[in-house]
């Protein structure tokens, strides 16, 4: 699709694209290229000399059990966060979609957590569930649970999944609500006339019609869990205890910062880039489908 009515000018269009082009080239392409180059280099301990080592950094990574563990962990986190947050948000959206009094108020009261920053989410949740002073931790201990996410890796992971899913509820709720409102009421009426009870109507009519939204949100939630959980993890657990909450992005950060292992950090960056490109590719193909659908 192209505009028919256009302006003629030799210089002006270049002047107009120049600022964005400059920023994108300097702050996007150049660093991305550097990451790719760096991933093929090995720096000595003092940073004085570098050698070209082909795929050694990648091979080292794939042989490293800690890396493999963080890949598995990241996917597990993503899956758990997405399922938890999507199901809760869907339940709320289905309720809010009903013709209720005060439905606008409900929407307002449910969407604002979108604006809470990940590090703040981390602080809020660690405070509630802090082993020695957390308000909720008291009750957990009263129930006989030996709750200490600062020492127990599985509990730390649970805490992060809960906090991350909490933040994502509002986003998912909003898109589910929009998806539900786009379903023609006549279809539901037809099902009702055929004698389908509300539960049956939901699973046989609403849910299938909502599947594009669900799929879209699944991809968005996975990308969210990959990247935006960094702030939550960094304020809550710093990847600990041990390495039990180190995700891929956290590992890129900590290996480059603390370990000073830039070659490996760069190789990890490149692998992450490829993963995101694949995910975005899936999302785009789906958007294309939605247009024709």
């Amino acid at each position: 699709m192209q505009k028919q009515a256009i302006f003629q000018s030799k210089l002006l269009p270049y002047v107009l694209v120049a600022p964005q082009l400059a920023i994108v080239l300097i702050f996007f392409y150049w660093p991305a290229l550097q990451a790719v180059i760096q991933s093929f280099l090995l720096q000595d301990a003092f940073g004085l000399s570098t050698t070209f080592v082909w795929f050694d950094n990648y091979i080292e990574l794939f042989k490293d059990p800690a890396y493999f563990e963080s890949v598995v962990r990241t996917f597990f986190f993503s899956f758990a966060i997405a399922v938890l947050s999507l199901s809760f948000a869907l339940l709320l959206a289905v309720m809010a979609d009903k013709p209720l009094r005060g439905s606008m108020l409900y929407r307002t009261l449910l969407i604002w957590p979108y604006a809470v920053a990940p590090p703040v989410v981390g602080v809020l949740w660690i405070f509630m569930l802090h082993p020695s002073l957390g308000v909720l931790a008291r009750y957990l201990r009263a129930l006989g649970i030996d709750w200490n996410p600062l020492l127990d890796g599985d509990q730390a992971a649970t805490l992060i999944i809960l906090a991350a899913a909490w933040k994502q509820i509002s986003y998912n709720f909003l898109f589910f609500l929009a998806g539900l409102q786009a379903i023609p009421k006549s279809v539901l009426e037809a099902a009702a006339i055929d004698g389908a009870r509300p539960m049956r109507r939901f699973w046989t009519v609403t849910f299938p019609l909502l599947s594009p939204t669900i799929f879209f949100l699944l991809v968005v939630n996975i990308v969210y869990a990959f990247f935006d959980t960094f702030g939550i993890i960094d304020t809550m657990t710093r990847g600990g205890p041990g390495t039990s909450t180190v995700t891929l992005v956290y590992k890129v950060y900590s290996d480059g910062l603390l370990g000073g292992n830039l070659g490996s950090s760069a190789a990890q960056s490149v692998i992450l880039m490829i993963m995101v490109i694949v995910l975005t590719g899936i999302q785009f193909r789906f958007v294309e489908r939605k247009v024709t659908y």
Binding site: L16, L21, V24, F27, A35, W112
Partner: protein, 282 residues
């Protein structure tokens, strides 16, 4: 209309209120903690009702800061966050709208390659290229500066695509008409296209402001001076010291202050927010 029986409606109301409680509880606890005495909280004796230290804590947080870990009033951090968020939002909208204008309304050599160069940036968030970007910003002497905070986060295509899509829907007759009036490309942009784009710009601004205010990893890397910290970084530093020394009421007051501006924007400009969110995800 599909009939809803009374009983089902009650259930819906109850489920929604439970949802609201789940969503609001952590924030309520933070607010309550910010009004209480630190000794009480540290002992795990925190009450679930607000205490009497509201003014004292918030005054200290905004104008003094913690005594140990950050040495910087949170008011100053909020100012840094505000400048960064505004620079990101305004900067991105400004450079995007003019480049989208060029790509839609002109034919020039390398038009499509340039479009693709910008388009590809959509795929990669700053997190995957942090260290190389850090090095470039350091080489340009932009560490600890507002430009260094904002520019790398401006380098993405969401806004350009949005404006491109919108310009495609603007009827050609408008351009013909203003050409008959003798308007050149800049006049047409300023007098016709910009006023038409107002709602889109506002919606985009709301989303970008929230994203900018909430940035974390990037400011964490490139700010080293205390007076350049954003509020998100400040919070993290406040809980760095060993737990016993953490001044929880101040931490929680900072958390509340960090949430206030973006939450305010979402609630007050809800229509624009929803529109911006849906449009940027397309």
């Amino acid at each position: 209309m599909v009939e809803e029986e009374g009983f089902r409606r009650y259930v819906a109301h109850i489920i929604l209120w439970i949802g609201i409680a789940v969503v609001a509880f952590p924030v309520y606890i933070a607010f309550v903690a910010s009004t209480q005495d630190n000794a009480l909280i540290a002992n795990g004796q925190m009450s679930l009702l607000p205490g009497g230290h509201f003014f004292e804590t918030y005054y200290q947080t905004i104008f003094v800061g913690t005594s140990g870990s950050t040495r910087e009033p949170v008011g100053n951090m909020m100012l840094n966050s505000l400048v960064m968020a505004l620079l990101i939002a305004v900067g991105k909208i400004a450079i995007s709208i003019i480049s989208a204008y060029a790509i839609v309304y002109f034919r020039f050599p390398f038009r499509m390659p340039i479009f693709w160069i910008i388009f590809i940036t959509l795929m990669l968030p700053v997190e995957v290229r942090i260290y190389p970007t850090y090095k470039i910003v350091a080489d340009l002497h932009m560490l600890d500066s507002y430009a260094g905070l904002a520019l790398p986060l401006i380098a993405s295509a969401t806004a350009t695509l949005l404006f491109r899509q919108f310009f495609m829907t603007v009827p050609d007759e408008l351009l013909e008409a203003s050409r008959i009036d003798g308007a050149g490309p800049l006049r047409f942009f300023w007098d016709t296209l910009l006023p038409l784009s107002r709602t889109n710009m506002a919606a985009l601004f709301v989303i970008l402001f929230i994203l900018g205010w909430n940035q974390y990893l990037w400011p964490l890397l490139i700010t080293t001076r205390d007076d350049m910290q954003t509020i998100q970084i400040g919070i993290r530093k406040m809980i760095t010291t060993t737990d016993a020394l953490t001044e929880w009421p101040i931490v929680m007051a900072t958390a509340v202050l960090a949430m206030l501006p973006p939450v305010f924007v979402v609630v007050v400009m809800q229509k624009l927010f929803v529109r911006g969110l849906v449009e940027t995800e397309k």
